[in-house]
């Protein structure tokens, strides 16, 4: 375990050094990602330009959802969202190489890339989150502080699990990036607004089955002290870390199945 981590750090270090070779290009890329992602948040502000509250949520409360989900999603994408490279490996059959090496395949896929430019998006999420914190009233208790600190790691684990399952789909669809996008980017979009605005079956499918509601909606109900308009048992507001662990287990199983399905391209 410790050794695997050391190897990961070495690979990541090499990857980062490679990206920093063209320093100006890197800084421009990072800044552009940071600034451009605000256009995305601007859409939220524009909605609130038209109404003071959306389904009972103020602009700061929605920013709270948006910011925490953006941080978690960008980190998860940074760590495991390497779908294009995997799709290429599967198409050309070079996935074989990973099978021959003395490390887990998922580990190698995760370690293959670390596109730091996505940190720009993490930073944007952080800015939005701070904006939200400045405008919401939180009745701070020990439990809420703990929840605040648990929320991002939980969200990263949840989104990372979704990414892995989306990567698994590539083993069957080969060039099916678009299909996976519905679950990854779709899942992220889902978390940016209170889930009670969505139709019931969409919520069942893309908030509970794909457990996006646990990324920030349920924890935020507790943190912000809001009434649950769906009237679910109060416990759902606290079990996000457990759901995240369960999702990771499901993702691990899915990955094993997917790799077993892999046939290679001969040669």
């Amino acid at each position: 375990m410790a050794e695997s981590f050391a190897v990961y750090c070495r690979l990541a270090g090499a990857n980062i050094r490679a990206q920093l070779q063209y320093r100006v290009s890197f800084v421009i890329d990072l800044t552009a990602t940071f600034l451009l992602s605000f256009l995305d948040f601007l859409a939220v502000l524009i909605l609130f330009h038209n109404v003071p509250r959306l389904a009972g949520w103020s602009v700061h409360e929605v920013a709270f959802l948006y910011g925490s989900s953006a941080i978690a999603f960008a980190l998860a994408e940074l760590l495991v969202g390497h779908s294009e490279q995997l799709a290429m490996r599967l198409r050309t059959g070079t996935f074989d190489v990973l099978l021959a090496r003395p490390r887990g395949t998922l580990y190698q896929v995760a370690a293959s890339e670390l596109p730091l430019r996505r940190l720009g998006r993490v930073l944007q999420g952080l800015v939005v989150f701070l904006y939200a914190l400045a405008g919401v009233n939180i009745d701070w208790t020990l439990g809420r502080v703990a929840m605040l600190f648990a929320m991002v790691p939980t969200g990263v684990l949840l989104f990372a699990s979704m990414w892995v399952v989306a990567l698994c789909l590539l083993f069957w669809t080969v060039d099916g990036n678009e299909f996976s996008n519905a679950f990854t980017y779709g899942g992220q979009t889902m978390t940016q607004y209170p889930i009670d605005i969505y139709g019931q079956w969409l919520r069942r499918f893309l908030a509970y089955l794909v457990p996006t509601a646990f990324v920030c909606y349920f924890p935020s109900l507790y943190l912000l002290g809001k009434n649950d308009p769906l009237g679910l048992p109060r416990i759902v507001q606290f079990i996000a870390p457990l759901v995240a662990l369960a999702s990771a287990a499901v993702a691990g199983l899915a990955w094993r199945t997917a790799v077993r399905h892999y046939r290679g391209a001969g040669g």
Partner: protein, 262 residues
């Protein structure tokens, strides 16, 4: 004309070769369509009219936008930029056909494929679940014409940011900037009518509005009579202007082009 037709057929064929990809994409369009529709419905819980749209207009807008997403190809295209970077553009330039005309014809073959297979299925799903608005036959004709113009404006714009590859080594930054600006200011992210007044005015002065907002407004019957003629004229003018600038940029770029080896 015969030549353009043959190229257009190849544009269609390129995408028709991957039917599974088209269905997968249409599925994703539906997922996003549902989410955006519910967000806007939540917005209309508090109001009956936003920027001249009622809730039916807004939901119809969402499904049309998802349907047009691929047709007007707002998510970025860098095939030409890649050919410029690796030097294949030299081959294209030695052909007795301007590359711009080639890509325009190719794109006009691609667009109908995406309109039919990526546009209509999500719209039908949306129509099945929500109360959408439907145009009168003359408006439907105007809509198709407006979509055609939108495709040309879009190609004109995409051609420009691709040609930038003559001057810059890494075209991806320009690509990302262009795509983001286009997604936002075209009305793909949110209808321009929901923007604050000053921002809407600014957005409507840009060519991007002609790519998504205008065709959808035509469909929704927001422009009638002379006003309709005017907006179609604006679209056509942007199409001509962007193609003209692209043509000049291509000539300039070609003049400084150096291809190694060969």
């Amino acid at each position: 004309m015969r030549l353009d037709w043959e190229i257009a057929k190849r544009g269609w064929g390129r995408y028709a070769a991957y039917p599974a990809a088209a269905w997968a994409g249409a599925f994703t369009n539906c997922v996003f369509g549902f989410m955006q529709a519910y967000v806007l419905i939540a917005l209309f819980r508090h109001r009956t009219d936003v920027g001249g749209y009622d809730v039916g207009d807004a939901v119809t807008y969402v499904w049309l936008a998802q349907g047009l997403l691929m047709t007007v190809y707002v998510f970025g295209w860098d095939e030409l930029a890649l050919r410029i970077r690796d030097g294949s553009i030299a081959t294209d330039l030695s052909r007795p056909l301007n590359p711009q005309r080639y890509w325009l014809a190719f794109d006009l073959g691609r667009a109908p494929f995406h309109f039919i297979f990526r546009g209509i299925p999500p719209f039908l799903i949306g129509a099945f679940v929500f109360d959408l608005h439907y145009p009168t036959p003359p408006l439907a004709v105007a809509f198709v014409l407006s979509v055609f113009l939108a495709v040309v404006v879009s190609l004109g714009f995409r051609f420009l940011y691709n040609v930038a590859a003559f001057w810059i080594v890494d075209h991806r930054g320009v690509l990302r900037l262009s795509v983001t600006a286009c997604l936002f200011f075209s009305g793909m992210t949110l209808p321009l009518a929901f923007f604050p007044h000053w921002l809407e005015t600014f957005a409507r002065l840009l060519p991007f509005a002609s790519i998504v907002q205008v065709p959808i407004d035509v469909y929704l019957g927001k422009h009638t009579g002379l006003d309709l003629v005017w907006v179609l004229g604006v679209q056509a003018s942007w199409a001509v202007a962007l193609l003209a600038i692209g043509r000049v940029a291509l000539t300039r770029g070609t003049r400084k082009l150096v291809v190694q080896g060969g």
